[in-house]
Amino acid sequence: MTGQYYPILLEALQVIIVLLGAPLLVGWVRMVKCWTQGRRSAGLLQPLRDISKFLVKDTVLAHNASWIFTATPYVVFGATLVAGAIIPVVSADLPLAATADIIALVAIFAVARFFTALAGLDVGTAFGGMGTSREMMVSSLAEPAVLMSVFTVSLVSHSTSLSYMVHDITTVSFVLRPSLAFALLAFVLIAIAETGRIPVDNPSTHLELTMIHEAMILEYSGRHLALIEWASMMKLFLFASLGISLFMPWGIAGIDDPGMIPVALVALTAKLALLGVGLVLVETGLSKMRIFRVAEFLGMAFLLATLGMLSYFILE
């Protein structure tokens, strides 16, 4: 009798996890970072508090901000949330997973970025333009790379539909493959770039020479800013969980066994926590690159991903 509601419940659960998990993950990362740097942290919930604060604040728009500027936050948030409703986080048979396969997923993120970039240009400050230009440079190199690395996985799993990929990798065909190794490495590099972390971008800076993402959203305030911030947190969360479900999906609930879901939740939390720690280590270990080193960085990622695909065709 819960049978026909099961998919809906699952989807709802997923969306809630994404919505709430994202700020928590960011909070966790910041917390660990404070610890490693010997500072007192603002606590796990600080990002949530920020968001709720922004939501009630007044909104200020520049004089010549057009409807693009006001629409962008909604579009970005909507796209990211839909992406969140597609990536299997706790269970492989996510009903909406079939609506968009991995290529569509990348494209949905691209939509969000497209509008962010336009918003950056809309007001007509030098900062916005700079941010847009840099962001588009990064993305135009990162996007193909991410596509290539996920292609490798989908070649291995003979599918581009996420849930089948996850299912396939957990159950059927996982052997240690060189192609997957390349793909994973590439994916990590790109995930860092895409989510705007050090060494590519620094989410917590407003120095015009270094910032990329922040430069685009510089003019935002109030609830618009809230939506954008939240969306970017979700993006981090989603890339993390995407990596998890593509490269280390064990413990995720397989096709129709609801029983596994609690386990899956625990596993997910553990993995994310670990990833967070790893991320912090990277970010404290490295320093941000000069902007044109980023190109080389991403070029390398692209190369790795292509190598992965090549090696699938040649070696396997």
Binding site: D58, N64, A104, A110, F114, L121, G124, T132
Partner: protein
């Protein structure tokens, strides 16, 4: 109930009639504009319906027009393939005709629009004739008819020298292409039976012609290069970025939207239908050309600051993408994987359809901007979104579609192409196996870069603040133009949201060419879900994605409505630096600067900064002058040497004409002696 062929031929007659009448109505310009646009819109509808029905039924209709040479009448044939392209021509032609009704008004008091209308209708007729021609002679006639009429259209505004230059380059390359096509037809006709009695020229005879593999390959290469010259495949693309900006915008829309496709039609016709003995490397060659065109095309596009040039280069890219799919289809067809071949071909066709629509939309939008501001360079534009309340969103739709973003149509076809890459099994032949991943990589790169390019176009042109002449007020364009753009935008969305129907419709084309189809499997799990092969391989539901994004946005919007905070306007944040002027915005050039840095090796870049010193002061110059020139490397590597060589040869030959009569007599004398000795 008229048959599809009747409709199509009726449309052709209509076009020729319009052009004929317009030639005599040159006195009544204003009437002429409305009349011709209306009629040609109707004719386009006829053609589109005919083509649509032809594809739907998948049948073949043949007809012989008893003119031309008595022994070589005009053979015509309308099958699924021709039908598809006729639909393309009709559809975009319809939009453009309505657009023209508004656009041509801009010329009214400046110059006579009669030639434009006359040649435009001949152009349309020529394109459709090319598609339904069924013998080499008639094909060449219509092909050149198309080329020449468009040549006259390109330099409709003939005062500017650069327009004439563009037209010259265009017609020259087009003619060389035509000669190559003729070469391949000639070889096929030569091998066909009944050459002596003029019967060998029919495509029917060519299909059944038996020829050795070497000749077959020569046929295909010649045809491919010939058509590639028309399609603007790199390195034969140089005419394209010259001709499109030169031509009036409605014409550039047609040229880029459908004329390039007729070349692809030719490649398909020869590669899948006429040429016997296909070789494994044909597909590979097409694929490689496609890859280069896709990546280089978009890279060149990124460097442009003239909207129409940029769009033209992006057409090069999209033709490349189409060729990638075509190449895949040929490869699959060679190894007899009919379903995959059908998938790739469907992707190719779909992409052509999409490109026709969105590129048409974009060129119409560019035309609107030109119409409103008389400024082609983005550096002189900006902030138009506040002035052109309708054009801006419509143009944005075009940009989204062109960048391959869901839920718009560009994405679907790219998705299909990616699918056919990912479904590729291990192929016989190491080279092909290497090609597949590289192809996928290049395609992904091109897709991402095109997004970058269109952010630039829209952002610089419509967003920010006005960069042009102070005090200039752009005004929104008139209704017909808006209406045309709206329809185009709507079809961009429709094509993006209901892919299953489209694929079901065009399925008869791959059926007839590669003997396989994906119409059934694509709709296996309902029209909502596009599943090219099987739902567990890949699935995409455009309607749902569209719906969910819309739903989330709506939900948040309502949630915010429920508890509203007050929104106030303020001057933009100037970092405390008081005098922020529009000149401080990012420009098109500065936007694309990172790409110049990263991919600089692709272009030949001349960059210089010059300081104009202020008298009296050593340190603070009056101003800095930045000069940038980015050119195709192809010019220096391919075209300059050829032309220089021919002129050198011409000088040498000119020496023969020495002027001394004794020398001339000597020529005759020597000729005589030589002949007497050797013959």
């Amino acid at each position: 109930m008229p048959s599809p062929f009747d409709l199509v031929s009726a449309s052709i007659v209509a076009f020729l009639f319009i052009s004929l009448v317009s030639a005599f109505l040159a006195r009544h310009q204003r009437f002429l504009v409305n009349f011709s646009s209306l009629l040609s819109a109707a004719a386009c509808l006829l053609a589109a319906t005919g083509g649509f029905l032809a594809v739907l039924s998948g049948g073949v209709e043949a007809f012989v027009l008893p003119i031309g040479l008595p022994d070589l009448p005009f053979y015509m044939r309308l099958d699924a393939l021709s039908g598809f392209f006729v639909t393309l021509v009709g559809l975009l032609g319809f939009f453009v005709s309505i657009y023209s009704a508004g656009y041509l008004r801009g010329f009214l008091d400046r110059r006579s629009v009669a030639p434009l209308i006359v040649f435009c209708n001949i152009f349309m007729a020529g394109m459709i004739l090319v598609l339904i021609a069924d013998d080499a002679y008639f094909f060449m006639v219509s092909w050149e008819l198309m080329a020449v009429s468009s040549f006259f259209l390109v330099f409709f505004e003939d005062e500017q020298v650069q327009n004439r230059r563009a037209a010259f380059i265009y017609i020259l390359i087009a003619h060389i292409g035509a000669i190559l096509i003729l070469l391949s037809f000639g070889i096929m006709a030569g091998f066909a039976t009944g050459f002596e009695s003029f019967r060998g020229y029919t495509f029917e005879a060519m299909r059944s012609a038996e020829m050795p593999a070497v000749w077959a390959s020569i046929v295909f290469i010649a045809a491919f290069l010939g058509f590639a010259a028309k399609a603007g495949v790199i390195p034969l693309h140089v005419w394209l970025p010259e001709a499109h900006p030169a031509a009036p915008s409605n014409i550039s829309a047609l040229m880029s939207g459908v004329m390039l496709k007729t070349a692809i039609y030719g490649i398909l016709r020869v590669g899948f239908d006429l040429a016997s003995e296909p070789q494994w490397w044909w597909g590979g060659m097409v694929l490689v050309f496609g890859l280069f065109s896709a990546v280089l095309g978009i890279l060149y596009a990124l460097m442009q600051d003239d909207i129409k040039r940029l769009l033209a280069y992006s057409s090069v890219e999209n033709i490349g993408i189409t060729l990638i799919a075509v190449g895949l289809a040929m490869i699959f067809a060679y190894v007899k994987m009919n379903t995959l071949a059908a998938l790739a071909m469907a992707a190719a066709l779909y992409h052509m359809l999409n490109h026709a629509v969105f590129k048409g939309l974009l060129f119409m939008g560019a035309g609107a901007v030109l119409h409103a501001t008389h400024e082609r360079s983005m550096e002189g534009l900006g902030g138009l979104i506040h002035k052109m309340k309708w054009t801006a969103p419509l143009f944005l739709v075009g940009c989204l579609a062109a960048s391959g973003l869901p839920p718009f149509n560009g994405f679907v076809s790219e998705w299909l192409i990616f699918q056919s890459f990912l479904l590729t099994p291990a192929l016989p032949g190491r080279l092909l196996n290497l090609l597949i991943p590289l192809g996928a990589a290049a395609l992904a790169l091109a897709a991402a870069l095109s997004a970058r390019g269109f952010v630039k176009v829209f952002g610089i042109t419509f967003l920010g603040q006005w960069r042009g002449k102070a005090g200039f007020e752009a005004v929104e364009v008139n209704w017909p133009m808006r209406a045309a753009m709206m329809m185009a935008a709507a079809s961009c969305l429709a094509l993006g949201v209901f892919p299953t129907h489209v694929i079901g419709w065009l399925d008869s084309v791959p059926q007839s060419l590669v003997g396989g189809g994906i119409g059934m499997t694509a709709r296996a799990s309902g029209w909502l879900w596009l599943t090219p092969v099987a739902s567990e391989r890949a699935s995409y539901s455009a309607p749902l994605v569209f719906f969910f994004i819309a739903f989330v946005i709506g939900a948040i919007y309502l949630a915010f409505k429920a508890r509203r905070v007050n929104v106030r306007r303020a001057p933009m944040w100037d970092c405390g630096f008081e005098k922020v002027t529009p000149r401080m915005q990012y420009t098109a050039t500065s936007m694309s600067m990172p790409t110049r840095r990263i991919f600089g090796f692709v272009f030949s870049i001349k960059e210089s900064v010059r300081a104009v010193a202020r008298q009296g002061s050593l340190f603070f110059p009056e101003k800095y002058i930045y000069h940038l020139k980015v050119r195709d490397r192809v010019w220096n590597y391919l075209y300059k040497p050829v032309s220089e060589a021919s002129f050198y040869f011409a000088r040498r030959v000119g020496k023969l004409q020495h002027g001394r009569i004794q020398i001339y007599l000597l020529y005759s004398f020597v000729t005589l002696v030589v002949l007497l000795v050797f013959a």
